[in-house]
Structure formats: structure tokens, C-alpha cells
């Protein structure tokens, strides 16, 4: 038989939200007179767009507020602009965005060096904590990387 407890006195608050009419809560859809009428609400004041903001083509314009950091730039920005020509339903929207993210990573490294900043990879990758809490795992990863590297060198030498 199904193993269900019958005494829940050890669980503080058991069943306090069991009344479906007294949850905060689900079903959440509180029908209002504005349902099915489109975007008719009194819109909040519009945030001025002082930088380039890409917007989904599934909406007619910008929402009242939006984030402004990191506008599209460089090659990754061009790819993002291309992606936003397609709807959220299209792979042509999302896959270019992922590609842009990877390109943006290299742009970030180039930008760091342009500014004279050498990335501290030990702290960025959290290697200190890996050494502290998982030294064996760290050693395994180093040995694996060295082995793969050695294999590539050997293969390259053979080809020559």
C-alpha cells in the first residue's frame, strides 16, 4: 500500500495552507475587465532611450523601463542586431545570440588588454577555492590537460 504518514504533529505548520480558498495564490489568474483588450493599460512614463536598446519584434516598441548597461558593440553587436530581426519563436533569433556571447567573450579579453588590465584568471576561475576544497580533483584536471596536450604534440610531430 501507499506509505503515507497519518500523524504530522512533528511538522510545524502542517496543513496551514491546505484550504484552497485561502492560498495567496493558485489559480493566479484573476480575471479583470482589461482581459483580452490588448495593451490598453495606462502606461508608466517612458524611460528615454539614450543608448541602443534592441527589442523583440514581438512587441511594437520599448517597454516603459529597460536596462541600459552593455549596449551592443563590435562584431557581437552586429550579430545581436541580426538576431533581433527574428521572433523569439525562431532559432535564427537565439542561436546567433549564443554565438554573439562567445565572440563577446573574446572582445572582452581584447578590451581588458587595451585598457592595460591583465585578467587574473586564478581569481576569476576560482582556482584558489578549487585548490582548497578539491585538491585531488584539481590535480586530476591538470594531469588530464597535460596528457591531452602531450597527445596533441605527439600527433603533430608524427604528421611532420
Amino acid at each position: 500500500m501507499k506509505k503515507t504518514q497519518s500523524d504530522f504533529s512533528h511538522i510545524k505548520g502542517w496543513g496551514v495552507d491546505a484550504d484552497p480558498l485561502d492560498v495567496p495564490a493558485y489559480p493566479m489568474k484573476k480575471r479583470t475587465e482589461n482581459d483580452n483588450k490588448g495593451m490598453i493599460w495606462e502606461r508608466p512614463p517612458q524611460q528615454p532611450a539614450l543608448t541602443e536598446i534592441l527589442h523583440s519584434n514581438e512587441r511594437p516598441s520599448l517597454p516603459a523601463v529597460f536596462g541600459t548597461p552593455n549596449p551592443p558593440t563590435g562584431l557581437s553587436g552586429k550579430i545581436r542586431r541580426f538576431a533581433f530581426k527574428y521572433s523569439e519563436s525562431s532559432f535564427a533569433h537565439w542561436l546567433p545570440l549564443l554565438l554573439a556571447d562567445r565572440i563577446n567573450m573574446f572582445e572582452g579579453i581584447a578590451e581588458d588588454f587595451q585598457k592595460g588590465h591583465v585578467p587574473d584568471l586564478v581569481s576569476e576561475f576560482g582556482i584558489k577555492s578549487e585548490l582548497k576544497y578539491n585538491p585531488q580533483g584539481f590535480a586530476r584536471k591538470v594531469v588530464t590537460c597535460l596528457a591531452i596536450g602531450a597527445l596533441f604534440v605527439l600527433l603533430a610531430k608524427r604528421k611532420k
Binding site: G13, M28, L98, E124
Partner: protein, 385 residues
Amino acid sequence: MLAMNYRGPYRVRADRNKPMPVIEHSGDAIVRVTRSCICGSDLHLYHGMVPDTRIGTTFGHEFIGVVEEIGADVRNLKVGDNVLVPFNISCGKCVFCEQQLFGNCHESNPEATAVGGIFGYSHTAGGYDGGQAEYVRVPYADIGPMVIPDDLDHDDAVLLTDVVPTGYQAAEMGGIKPGDTVVIFGAGPIGIMAAKASWLFGAGRVIVIDHLEYRLEFVKNYAQCEAYNFRSLEDPVLFIKKTTDWIGADVCIDAVGCEAAGSALQTITGRKLMLQAGSATALHWAINSVKKGGVVSIVGVYGPTGNLVPIGNVVNKGITIRANQASVKRLLPRLIEHVRQGHIDPKAIVTHRVPLEEVGDAYHIFSAKLDNCIKTILIPPSANK
């Protein structure tokens, strides 16, 4: 100011030269952050799985702080208020906010219509910087933020911005009836809270499935539930069927999302090759473990493209699927009452408190599940001002 700065997959740093945020809209506030958390869903960004996560973004959608500046139209907050800021950015006016679907606001995210704005969660969620910083811009300051009641511990308050409401809503969406068997996939912070909340709805049996022993041990004690390691079960779906008298669970909750372990096919196609929007193993198991006519509740985060799930079984079994980002503002009054009554003890899940300066290590510890990490709070230097 000091802020977390995303530099690419698995690479984040504490950047001392991030420009201070400014008021950009009459409804904005600038908040000095006193605590922020790393959320399990931040790891999807950290691992490079969320499209349009731009280099330079500051993550962090779970934070509390002190109001430093307000826009001309802000009426409900004043400078100096200690505020808890829900992770949803919501206008309070659109038809979705009117229905209390504060996670689905239509006036806060230009880049995608499928989700409302979220602090520090990529441009796909609005392009806002997040709270893993000394200061953060908070739009619609009259709507989302709530002044922290004097009797609420600030560690509890920061966990009420996402993890507690999300776990609670997972149980709520399950439509749990007294005596129901609830199976929760994932023993991370959200799964732990979902297990705890399931009892509040009168569950008769709560089972949590994961593969990390230390988390299973934690949830067993914290939520007084059963906890099983799927690595030792061979087939978790078969196990659920057997233990429910061959019927299946009444309610299954996916509290894992797109980085689930447990299936080589899902891991390779979803996480490594990214041919689908992450690995949907937990959702796959949830659909197959629930009884005919049962409910699957999804709060695990998935990408926007698509996933391999047995949709045919959803049809054949007549399953109801309910899912959403938590509507934090809607749930807060009830949840604060639960914390006061001692039904939920949010801060008990905090295992790590790390200075913001060490954000790279904090992310790695959480991501690699080192040092028995369950929940990390980042403390910015601004917390002591």
C-alpha cells in the same frame, strides 16, 4: 563602485571600476546593497547557457539594501529605508501585473516578451545590472520593493526575494491536496524550500530526489522528508512507481531546470552541445513519475529554444503542467507570516558568507558543489557603511 563582472563562461571577477548606477526613470530608486545571494539560476548564466548574456553584466537578483536615492515619482519609499527587492521587475499597471502575475510584467523587458524583467539576468531578461554590487538601480521602486519589517532578520529577508517564494510557489502550483504524495526533483535551495512548503499545503508524503549526498542529508533534516539518491536507485521513475503502490506521485516538482544530471543523452545534447535548451532530465522524470491526471509543477529554469521531453506521455496521462517564475510580491505577506510563525526558517539554508571581493571563488564553490555548499550570501563592502 565594486561589482561582480561577468567575463565569459566560468569567469567572473570583482570589478572596482563599475560606474555608479543613476536614476534613469522617475520611478527608479538607487539601493545600497547590504546582502546579495548567488542563486542556482545564476549558475546557468555563469555557465554561459542563457543567450544574450553580455560581457560586463553584473548578476544578482536576490538582494536587500538601503534606499540611497529616489526618482521624482517614488512615493512609497524614502531615503534610508531598508528594503527587500523581489527579483521580478514589475510595473504594477499592465494587465499581467493587474492579475498579480508580477513575474510576467509587460513593461520591463524589451528583449523578450516571454519573461518580465529580472535584475542581473542577461539581456534576455531586460538587460538590467543586478545586486551583486555595492549599488543597484531599482526600477518601479513603488511597486516591487518592500520595507523590511523590524522583526524580520535580514538573512531571512534576502532569501524572501526569490528562493522562498519560488519554492513555495512550486508547491502551490502543484495544487497539493491533504494526503498527497509530492516528489521533488532537486535538493538545491529551491527544492529544499519546495519540500518544506509541501507540508504547509497538507502533503501526506514528501520525497526529494537528487544525487548529492550532502544535500539529501540536509533536506532530510531540514524538511523532515524522505530523500533518495538517484544514482543508487537505478531508475528513479520505477522507484517512484513502486513506492506509490504502482500508481505514481500525485504531484511532481521540477526544481532543477536546465543543468540536470542523470541522463547521458540529455547531458550531451543539452549541456555540452547545447542542441537543446539545457538538459531536461528532471522534467522528463517528473512527467513519467506523476500519476495519470496528476500535476507537474515546473520552477526549474530552462532556455528559450526547446527541450526533449516526453510530451506524448503528458497527453496520454492527462497531466496538468503548471509553471512560472515566482510572483514574489504576491506571496510575500503570506511568507513573512510563515517565517514569523516558525513554519519556515529561511536562513538555516545559508552555508557560506563571502565578501563580494571574492566573488570568483564564491561562484566556483557553488557551481562545483564544494565545501557542502547550499546557499551563499555575498557581502559587499557597502554593507558596513
